[in-house]
């Protein structure tokens, strides 16, 4: 396979895909999605990676990729083990598409990779249990999609759940096979603030957990963490007064929302939260950590 990585050295590929406001993203996701199919995505912690465009990835070859990847994973897992050749560890990898999980219609269809392992114990049911999941999806970045040459598939976000060793193996296979590159995605405080505002504004039917923001204070000898949890109804009430147009979120509104929270805090404690670092955001919808971990609850 020819190497095409040099093509991307000049391009200003975003290392942190900008997450679009919820309106188009969320409503798009929720309408087309079969709730049963994506139920497995919920209540799991996903680690985020940024992926460069993949060369000569074809949706038609998913079965072939499953076979190749299965063999690769089995081989990697057996490295260093004194195991007879041909001994089946019962690992099976499947690649499939996840319909409906796209931001806009132009986006590529999401791809799901799952590693299932057959139980080693003789008396247990020989059912395959999923031990690791990862999925690629396309974050709508219209500008980038236009500039991507043919033969390249742009699935720029990868989410992994499961053992780190499996993530490394799957990642290296994709990197070798499609000449792409995976890198850990960190979430900036700016994006975390967006998530806090957006998720607070979402209406949830079931019991609403508090909106919690966790700040880490830098530059002092002893580490200090501040957790600021606001009652969900009160946080939503505040956001509703800030947000002017339903279905649309602007940077100014997010800033105002955060500034309100900061000033309420300052009034009591005389501490400037704006000088600290927002590291984690948690609501009843989802939670996100700056290290690049997210968990969707609803």
């Amino acid at each position: 396979m020819e190497k095409r990585s040099s093509l991307f050295h000049g391009l200003p590929f975003p290392t942190t895909p900008v997450l679009e406001p919820p309106s188009c993203c969320y409503s798009g996701w929720r309408e087309n999605v079969d709730p049963q199919k994506i139920a497995f995505l919920l209540r799991k912690q996903w680690t985020l990676y940024s992926v460069t465009p993949m060369y000569k990835f074809s949706y038609g070859n998913l079965k072939e990729y499953s076979r190749l990847l299965s063999a690769f994973v089995a081989a990697e897992k057996q490295k260093g083990l004194a195991v007879e050749v041909g001994n089946d560890l019962g690992i099976k990898v499947t690649l499939s598409t996840l319909l409906g999980l796209k931001g806009t219609d132009q986006d590529q269809v999401a791809v799901l990779v799952q590693i299932a392992s057959r139980s080693q114990l003789p008396f247990e049911n020989a059912e395959n249990k999923v031990v690791w999941s990862g999925w690629f999806c396309c974050i709508s970045g219209d500008d980038l999609l236009e500039s991507v040459p043919e033969d390249f598939t742009c699935l720029s976000l990868f989410l992994a759940n499961g053992a780190e060793s499996y993530t490394a193996i799957v990642g290296s296979w994709f990197q070798k096979t499609f000449d792409c590159y995976f890198s850990r995605l960190t979430i900036s405080p700016l994006n975390l603030a967006w998530m806090a505002a957006m998720w607070t504004g979402c209406k949830v039917d079931s019991h609403m957990a508090a909106t919690e923001l966790v700040f880490s204070v830098p530059c002092i000898p002893q580490s200090l963490d501040i957790s600021y949890a606001i009652h969900s109804e009160d946080a939503k009430a505040l956001w509703d007064t800030v947000q002017k147009t339903p279905g649309e979120v602007t940077q100014e509104e997010v800033n105002l929302f955060m500034d309100c929270l900061y000033s309420h805090f300052h009034r009591h404690f005389k501490i400037h939260l704006s000088a600290t670092r927002l590291v984690k955001v948690s609501t009843s919808i989802a939670s996100a950590h700056c290290d690049g971990n997210i968990k969707v609850l609803d």
């Binding site: 200090l224 949890a229 009430a237 007064t241 309100c260 400037h272």
Partner: protein
């Protein structure tokens, strides 16, 4: 000997690293020198622990007392947190009387309970209680520890559980106090709690001169004149204010503080927001390996105003780190209402 106690000793010995076993057994002081000599530390650990248990069989009564001491020697990470309880007193203290009354009170309510006492030099009485139920033996692994300084009206209790009312009742009865109530002060470090309630930290006093006195005859520092210190005055002001509030010495070590806020939301005047009649409910938690030192360093680092809010600085004086703040009519409430 009780088999759960035997098992407990066996497991405890197994946990000790081989090189420290002899040292530990000597420290426990309930096996004599000759008995210690019979133990071969080079055999399998299971055999060692079994040998210890067998030797202990002989001295059943003393073993019970020593369980308290061994748990103290082991990196006493009191799993759980100590909570301060205070009471109102009457007369002088009699140790034997206290022990008797305490045991009797607790045993009358609960048959299955193991109680051990241990006294230390600084008038501290350590009580170890392993709780059981009507049908089960006491669970030796989840014991509650109580530290009582007989000369003070304070009791420190680890791992709060549902058996607290029984425990408090026994304490009140045994110590001849009228009443006992829980303080809103918790920490992993019992010495810090003691420092706070016994006022052993360096306290601050109001200074008459707000500015430090000028020193005379000080040789000027040889500093490059091109270097200018920005905001020198402001920095000095912050330092002196900080010093006034926090004092000179090391702060008592606490790990967290929690504030339940139920005040009205009031943003800046230009924020035309949320003129609700309902309070803006939030819970703020501060956590740090050494919270007070971290708070002290905030203003000099530029992340907080000096003086820092009294809500934070009152922690040692008020001896509490759990607060509920409600709105006071008109003015911002810096007072802490009761639990």
């Amino acid at each position: 000997m009780d088999e759960t106690v035997a098992e407990y000793i066996r497991r405890t010995v197994l946990k000790i690293p081989r090189c420290q076993i002899m040292e530990m057994l000597t420290m426990w002081e309930f096996l004599s020198k000759t008995q210690l000599q019979t133990i071969n530390v080079h055999q399998l650990k299971e055999r060692i622990s079994q040998a210890v248990v067998e030797l202990c069989e002989v001295i059943t009564s003393i073993v019970n007392d020593q369980i308290v001491s061994n748990s103290h020697n082991f990196v006493f990470t009191i799993s759980g947190i100590f909570s301060c309880i205070t009471g109102e007193e009457t007369d002088s203290f009699n140790l034997a009387d206290f022990k008797y009354k305490f045991k009797r009170s607790l045993r009358s309510a609960l048959k299955n309970v193991t109680i051990n006492f241990r006294e230390y030099e600084d008038n501290a009485i350590w009580i170890r209680i392993a709780w059981g139920t009507q049908y089960t033996k006491p669970n030796q692994y989840k014991a509650t520890y109580v530290v009582y300084h007989s000369q003070t009206p304070y009791v420190f209790i680890s791992s709060l559980r549902s058996s607290i009312p029984l425990l408090c009742q026994a304490l009140v009865h045994a110590s001849n106090y009228h009443d006992i109530h829980e303080m809103e002060l918790r920490s992993r470090c019992i010495d810090s709690l003691k420092d706070i309630v016994f006022k052993r930290y360096s306290q601050t006093f109001q200074t008459y001169h707000p500015r430090p006195l000028q020193e005379r005859n000080v040789a000027p520092e040889k500093v490059d004149p091109r270097i200018i210190q920005e905001n020198k005055r402001e920095k000095e002001r912050i330092q002196s204010v900080n010093q006034e509030i926090f004092g000179e010495g090391l702060q008592p070590k606490i790990e967290f503080a929690q504030y339940k806020l139920e005040t009205m939301f009031k943003g800046e005047p230009e924020m035309d927001i949320l003129t609700e009649k309902e309070p803006f409910r939030c819970v703020v938690k501060f956590s740090s390996p050494h919270l007070l030192e971290a708070l002290k360093s905030l203003a000099p680092a530029g992340m907080a105003d000096a003086p820092l809010s009294p809500l934070l600085t009152c922690i040692p004086q008020k001896a509490r780190n759990y607060f509920k703040i409600k709105e006071r009519k008109g003015i911002l409430s810096a007072s802490c209402l009761g639990p």
